[in-house]
Amino acid sequence: MAILTKEQAQAILKKALGFSKADECEITLSGNEGGNIRYARNEVSTSGAEENVSMAVESRFGKRSGVATINEFDDKSLEKVIRRSEEIAKLAPESPEYVELLGPQKYITTKANFDSTAKIDPAYRAEAAAKSIKAASDKGLTAAGFLEHYTRFTAKMNNKGLFAYHPSTDIDFSVTMRTEDGTGSGYVTQDFSDASKLDTGKASQIAAEKAANSRNAKALEPGKYTVILEPAASIDLLRNMFFNMDQRNAEEGRSFLSKPGGKTKVGEKLVDERITVYSDPTNPEVPTAPFAGDGRPQEKVTWIDKGVVKNLYNTRYWASNKGSASIPPPGNVIMEGGSQSLEDMIKSTKRGILVTRLWYIRAVDPQTLLYTGLTRDGTFYIENGKIMYPVKNFRFNESPVIMLNNLEALGKPQRINGSLVPPMKVRDFTFTSLSDAV
């Protein structure tokens, strides 16, 4: 059994800590149980299950620190892993960035584990894949998809009195469907903490429809276009921005948030005033752990408020060194949106392009946060409020900072990759070349 209850985890951690002879000792115990199924060419190709529990011990003597891990939990093994971490610590150089371990912390409660996900068995996985394959074969399409699910727990204890425990579940599904002639392709991806919200058959219909409708795409000239980005398209660009809001990099002058003279853009308007971004571990759609990897409490933090940069995250060392508030990196990202559906947004578009997915996104210039990548699996031309025809895929070169300044409209936020993001309409999105890829 890889998933321990709070009491079971606490008992093991206490026992292990009892063997410690170091000045400071912090132990993390974590486990996961999960499974996956993969299919292609309308057949299951691989499937598997896995489980694992492991313990990582950090021991410290003064400013020297050592880490050791183990996956056996009898008394002898616990003592062995503690001793090994102590031996490594004694050999390590002193860390100039040493900060004392945290003492007892108060954490808010989050509900991130669901029985519906924890009880998934091989039969569920086979059925989920079969429903998706059926959605493809019914329409003469070919499906390639992947489903994986996990139940996890993390527990943490140290000799300064800190204790933390958090159980969670998640399920991720994605499928790409292609037409027999290879001229059309459609995609859908969904993820949830609660598996009862996932219907792979229904989700697969979206991919099937996009595939069938994207046959024989027309070529448009590359250039600047108004685009409607579905959350699956914008998420990677947005994550690349929000997860780059590191205080140290900004203050060291090597971030898009750096300013001449060693200053940062905190307090300045960076993007359109309709953009507000925060993280919140208690959000029921995207629940996350109430503590960060180093034990700091995770609470609601606003990163961008009405277009203005509010907070940057940091390490405990950098916060104490700079006298800043200590803010851990976010566990999720929640971007406020509006009430419009994707359909409403299409209806209000005179001329534009609907983008299902962006692919192979790579940083081009970290100074401006310029990224390149391509559209994929469902790109359509919109005119006078209607989808007119599929278009060939484009390569883009664009910065999420510029994109969020050229904002036209925001729709209703949806969960995507553990975050909440609205579909968005953006003008002057830069497509630099055409791709023949389907």
């Binding site: 060291e252 001449p260 940083a363």
Partner: protein, 548 residues
């Protein structure tokens, strides 16, 4: 990303290092423990337990991989060691064919009971999945090799070098960069040792000891007054070598183009020299001329061209991609079977000869046998510009009428199922005597590009955009200074057809990808790409400067 017992090192604050997420599998161990080995006789006995159990439960074919995977990663920034990771992962994976269908199971319980249970599970999974199978798996024949062994021909095992000595080398490289004007430097040394024992019902018992190493750094220069910052990456290559790669040798340095100060490194790297130059170049980049967009002739350094080969030739010629098995993630391929069958598909110009080779000295993909017991070899992919072959494993060979597998099956761990992975894919050097200065002397308006940069390509491998780490302007046959904001965009077939020729064999060297990702759940693999400096005519260059 596999969530099995790994540490996401990218989350530990190595933001300056331009790397994908770095997976670490297994348990953290002491450096000394990495030098212990597992007895071969014991492995053979356990392998026989797995094979006999699988056969008795109804498998027609079975293979077993007993693997011990060691990783040691050292990370530093400026004057301090940030992290040292020593990890070991040990276990057994059993793959079987029953009712014409694959089944796989793995366990960390390396006992008779543990491996027998895994073999039983693998057969049960194969039988369950066979109900959904349309056509039975066909395996290309392979010889049984009996009890054999192979080892990467290393001179000095990197795991035997004290951690302190290795950390000191990184810190010395950091100091060289700081002394030459860098504001920041992050450096790392990655070392991997795969101790793999493979056995199959075909009669092979193959013991292999595989070593790989990769020193790397990113130097950053900041101009506080303007707020601009620029980075320059190391010009090292990850190699299938031991610690001897870290010891500079004059004979392994290949002088770069006149006017760049650059050196190429063949089978020995000079990290201090490269770090010092990197700092100077990062600073120079702060004031370098911004490129004027347009068509240029490109002269590409092997340490840059390797990634272009990887993305635009290596991946599209993976047969599983061509067939649609990777459609949901990595994608499919423009290089469809009909193009190959035509025997006349011009992938590139007549100068383009690209081969796959799992036996190349010093390369990341060099092994004696692949992960399904096939002896490795060399074969042509593109001959005189024409597409002639793909990369196939035992259950794919019949699709392209090959009598045997190409020997490019790989799994990144005992717990992952092996599948088709890219072999070393390299561009043959030119046959005429040619050095890089002579190659550049023929270019009127061009750009010389070295090192790794931004790279992006579509899911069928037509349209790509690549950057680099240094760019030099070529005017009337000479390098005239550095450029910035350069990226080239092209189409795979158009690009390779614009190939105007390469330098000769004396200029040839390897580039490598240490953490290449493929599959769901994703598996990593390491692969090299050799080439000499090569010229491409009339390539579209864009200017990537923006204001935010």
């Amino acid at each position: 990303m596999k969530r099995r017992n790994f540490l996401e090192l990218s989350a530990l604050g190595f933001g300056g290092l331009m790397l994908p997420s770095i997976p670490v599998f297994g348990d953290i161990i002491s450096p000394e423990r990495a030098l212990e080995t597992v007895d071969t006789a014991l492995k053979k006995r356990l392998a026989d337990v797995a094979l006999n159990t699988a056969k008795s439960k109804g498998a027609n074919y079975a293979d077993v991989r007993i693997g011990r995977y060691l990783q040691q990663y050292i990370f530093t920034r400026e004057k301090q060691v940030q992290n040292i990771v020593n990890a070991e992962s040990f276990g057994v994976g059993v793959r079987v064919l029953a009712n014409g269908t694959w089944g796989f199971a793995a366990t960390s319980d390396v006992s008779d009971k543990g491996v027998a249970k895994a073999a039983e599970q693998a057969v049960a999974i194969a039988k369950a999945n066979s109900k959904l199978q349309k056509e039975p798996v066909q395996l290309a024949p392979v010889k049984g090799f009996g009890e054999v062994s192979w080892k990467t021909p290393i001179e000095k095992n990197a795991f035997e070098v004290p951690v302190g000595e290795k950390a000191d080398l990184l810190l010395a490289a950091n100091a060289a960069a700081m002394d030459n004007g860098a504001n920041f430097v992050n450096s790392a040394l990655f070392q991997v040792n795969e101790q793999k024992y493979f056995a199959s019902t075909e009669g092979s018992y193959i013991d292999q000891d595989v070593h790989r190493i990769w020193p790397n750094f990113t130097v950053t220069a900041v101009d506080k007054a303007s707020g601009k910052f620029k980075t320059r990456e190391a010009l090292s290559a990850p190699m299938g070598m031991g610690y001897e790669y870290m010891i500079p040798k004059a004979s392994e340095k290949i002088k770069g183009p006149e006017g760049t100060g650059l050196n190429g490194y063949r089978y020995a790297y000079d990290m201090l020299e490269d770090a010092a130059l990197a700092a100077k170049q990062a600073k120079e980049k702060l004031t370098a001329k911004s490129v004027m967009a347009g068509k240029y002739d490109l002269v590409l350094d092997p340490n840059h061209l390797g990634l272009t080969i990887h993305e635009s030739v290596g991946h599209p010629l993976e047969l599983d991609r061509v067939l649609g098995y990777e459609a949901n993630y990595a994608g499919t391929s423009f290089a469809t079977l009909d193009k190959w069958k035509s025997k006349s598909f011009k992938y590139g110009s007549d100068k383009v000869n690209i081969f796959a080779d799992k036996t190349q000295k010093g390369s990341l993909g060099y092994v004696g046998w692949d992960d399904e017991g096939v002896k490795t070899k060399k074969w042509d992919l593109i001959k005189d510009g024409v597409l002639v072959n793909y990369q196939a494993i035992r259950d794919q060979a019949h699709i392209i009428n090959e009598p045997e597998s190409h020997g490019c099956c790989y799994a990144d761990s005992w717990s992952s199922v092996q599948f088709q992975r890219m072999p070393n894919v390299s561009l043959a050097p030119g046959k005429e005597k040619m050095d890089v200065d002579k190659l550049i002397s023929g270019v009127d308006k061009g750009i010389y590009i070295a090192g790794r940069g931004s790279y992006s390509i579509d899911q069928q491998r037509y349209n790509f955009q690549f950057g680099g780490t240094t760019f030099h302007e070529i005017k009337n046959g000479k390098i005239v200074g550095m450029l910035e904001d350069v990226a080239y965009q092209s189409n795979t077939q158009e690009f390779w057809n614009s190939c105007a020729g390469s330098c000769d064999e004396s200029d040839y060297r390897l580039f490598g990808s240490f953490f290449d990702g493929k599959g769901q759940p994703s598996q990593i693999s390491a692969v090299s790409h050799g080439s000499a400096h090569t010229r491409f005519n009339g390539v579209n260059v864009i200017n990537t400067a923006r204001k935010i």
